[in-house]
Every structure is written in C-alpha cells, then in structure tokens.
C-alpha cells in the first residue's frame, strides 16, 4: 500500500492539473461564445449561397461549364480544417478519420491543410500536403478564405486536380459537432431537394452564362470555405470546452478516491500505533 506521503503528493499533483484544466475550460468557454456569435452571423450567407446556387443551377438545364465538369485529373484536393492546438478531445482525429475512411485512395489526395494538427497526422500517414494555411484558423477572415479559394480553384482550372472536397466540423450547437466531408466541385446537387416551382422556369444570365458562372462559382466556393472555417473554430472551442470539462470532473473523482485512500491509511496508522502502545503498556504491567 502506498505511503501517506505518496498519496498526498499524488493528490497535490492532480489538484494542480485540475486547476489548469479548469482555467482552460473557462478560456474556451469565452472563446466559444465569441465564435458562436460569429458562426450565427455567417450562417445565413452560407445557407443562402448554397440554396441560391443550387436553385440557379437547377433552373439552368444542362450547363456545360468547366466548373461543373469533373476535371481530367484523378487527383482530388481535400481542404481539411482542424485546429492548431491539441487538448480538444477527438476534434482533430475525427476530421482526419473522415478522410482516411472516405474510401479515396491515399495516392489521389492532395491535402490543403488549415490547422497544424490534422496536417501533422496526415503527413505521418503519408498523405501529400499541397499547402498549409494554418495561420488563418486563429481568426478567420473572408479575405483569407478568398485567397485559399484562388489557390485551389487555380489548381482545378489548371488541371492539377479533378475534384475538390472540404472536410470540417459542422457546428450544430454547443454540445453537438458533426465532422462533415463535402464535395465542392464539380457542383453536385440532389434534384429531390428542389421543389417543382424551382425547376419550372428557366434562368437567364447576364452578361452571359459562362461569364456569370465564372464569377459566381468562385464566390460560392469562397463562401463555403469561410462558413466552414467559422463553424470549425466554434466547434474546436466547443470540443475543447467539453474535453476540459470532463478532465476537470475526472480529476475531481480521482481526488475523491485519493482522499478516501489517504484517510483510510491515516486511520490505519493511528490504529496500529494505538495497538502498539496498548501492547507495550500491557507488557510492562
């Protein structure tokens, strides 16, 4: 059995760890609130963009446009949004798993990493990292999203890649974050999502179809990047808050256990000492 001093020492170290996890939980709670407000503000744009672009394309009949055709290259660009820091439970691993379990062969993937953690894991697994924009995760701005979009779309039109995917964590609410893998280009939409009225009338384009789509599709991709980034930041802080919360309560449980052990050991010591004194006194009399 561990000695009194050992137990006390261990309890002390758990207590100081608990203080750290508690502080980290408070910090991520504040960050989460900020990120959530931001995510809620961005959400309408994100939703409208998706809805408008799909309804627009549904009204357009058969379009023939480079952005709507799969490129000739087998390579697939995957934009992976994770965090720069750990201690967020399964947050980073879940995003990575989306990719490793997606069935896309490793050799065909080019990773555009946003967030150091997923980049490190994917690098170790042998994926090709095309670019790293980890800096933008700290405070996402629309300008950053549009710069990344330019790079990725440039590779798409240049024929280096044939498809573009986005892996991020969807922020449903504070406690529920869903890792999501989404195909961005070529644009795919389910006809079932659109009502009759949506497909009835034919869409006109100004100046003309090709030019309009040349402008709109990059904006569409940028807005999806931006929305995903903002949601991922909210999810990251949510995940970290949960992880730190459970770490704090686990520490509480351990401290309780150790306190019990400590008291038992102390009681045992006293009983032993008493027995020894009594035995000694009896021997003398």
């Amino acid at each position: 059995m561990a000695s009194l001093r050992d137990i006390k020492q261990r309890k002390g170290s758990i207590q100081s760890t608990q203080q750290i996890t508690k502080a980290m939980k408070l910090v991520s709670t504040v960050k989460l609130q900020k990120a959530r407000v931001h995510a809620e503000k961005v959400q309408p744009y994100f939703d409208y963009m998706y809805r408008t672009v799909t309804s627009m394309l549904a009204r357009s009949g058969n379009l023939d446009h480079p952005y709507l055709r799969a490129g000739s290259s087998r390579k697939k660009a995957v934009v992976v949004i994770s965090s720069n820091r750990g201690l967020a439970g399964g947050y980073n691993m879940n995003v990575v798993r989306l990719l490793t379990e997606s069935g896309i062969p490793k050799e065909d993937v080019k990773v555009y990493a946003l967030g150091r953690k997923a980049r490190e894991i994917l690098e170790r697994k042998g994926y090709e990292i095309a670019a790293d924009y980890s800096g933008v995760v700290e405070s996402p701005a629309y300008g950053d999203a549009s710069a990344i979009c330019r790079d990725v779309l440039g590779a798409f039109t240049g024929g280096e890649i044939g498809e573009i995917y986005l892996a991020y964590t969807h922020f449903k609410n504070t406690v529920s974050h869903i890792p999501t893998l989404m195909k961005l280009l070529p644009v795919e939409f389910q006809a079932a999502e659109l009502s009759e009225a949506d497909t009835g009338t034919l869409m006109n384009y100004e100046p003309n179809q090709e030019q309009a789509l040349n402008m709109i599709i990059p904006k569409y991709v940028t807005s999806l990047f931006y929305g995903a980034l903002v949601e991922a930041v909210a999810s990251e802080n949510g995940a970290r808050m949960q992880a730190m919360d459970s770490a704090t309560s686990n520490a509480d449980d351990m401290i309780d256990d150790l306190t019990l052990q400590y008291n038992r050991a102390r009681q045992g010591n006293i009983t032993q000492e008493l027995t020894e004194i009594i035995a000694g006194a009896e021997a003398l009399s």
Partner: protein
C-alpha cells in the same frame, strides 16, 4: 392592381450579417453591363454585381446604400442579392474612403504592372461609390 401587390421580397445578405430583408417596390443597382432596375415579375435572371449605389424603393420611402461585389438572383416574386460588401451611408467612414480614393488615383498615375491597374481601378470605384452614397 392593389398597392400591396407591387411589392416583392428583397433580401441582401453579406458574409457577416443579413444586410436587408423586407418588401420592396423596386430595387436598383449596378450590374456588369450597367444600371439595372428590378420590379416585380421580372424574368428569372442571374447577374453579377459591380460596385455601385444600391437604391431600394420601399412601399413608402427610399433607401440608399453602397454595394460593392457579389451577385443577384432575380426571380418573379423574390430578389436575393449575395453581396461581399454592403454598407449603409451612416456606416461609411468618409475619411477612409477619401484616403483610399487618393491612394488609388496615385497608383493609377504611377502604375507598373497590369494587375496593379485593375486593382487600383476597383479600389477607385469603391471609394467613389462610398463617397457618393455618403452625400
């Protein structure tokens, strides 16, 4: 036709907020090929927005704003403008716009590459629109 029937749904959304949501009688903005005014029952049209002044005629009154980039989806009963930047007059920083105007003019005078010119022209247009709306 009754007064209420001339109104259509107008929504203007930017990445950071819902800029405008309401019913309008007419909306006017600058498209790539020039000014465009939209009334109810317009044919379905998707058009790309160029920097310019946005005018919304509501059931009563009129509002103006600066609209810089994005695209509009026009349907008979509904118009959605997805803008990258949109500002009401009171949100525009006049001094900043004036400074941007000077900077852009300066760049256009002493330009080096083609890209610089294109960017400066956009900046110049944006600054002019901001100052116009502000007046």
């Amino acid at each position: 036709m009754a007064e209420g029937n001339n109104l259509f749904q107008l929504e203007i959304i930017t990445p950071d907020r819902v800029f405008y949501r309401g019913e309008a009688r007419m909306v006017e903005f600058t498209a790539q090929d020039g000014r465009i005014g939209v009334l109810k029952h317009h044919i379905p049209l998707t058009t790309v927005v160029a920097p310019g002044i946005l005018t919304i005629q509501e059931a009563r009154g009129e509002r103006q704003a600066a609209l810089h980039a994005g695209f509009a989806e026009i349907l008979p009963e509904k118009v959605t403008i997805l803008a990258e930047v949109a500002e009401w007059p009171e949100e525009i920083d006049e001094e900043r716009a004036r400074a941007a105007l000077e900077r852009a003019e300066d760049r256009l005078k002493n330009h080096r590459t083609e890209i610089d010119v294109a960017r400066a022209e956009i900046a110049l247009k944006k600054a002019l629109v901001r100052l116009d709306v502000r007046k």
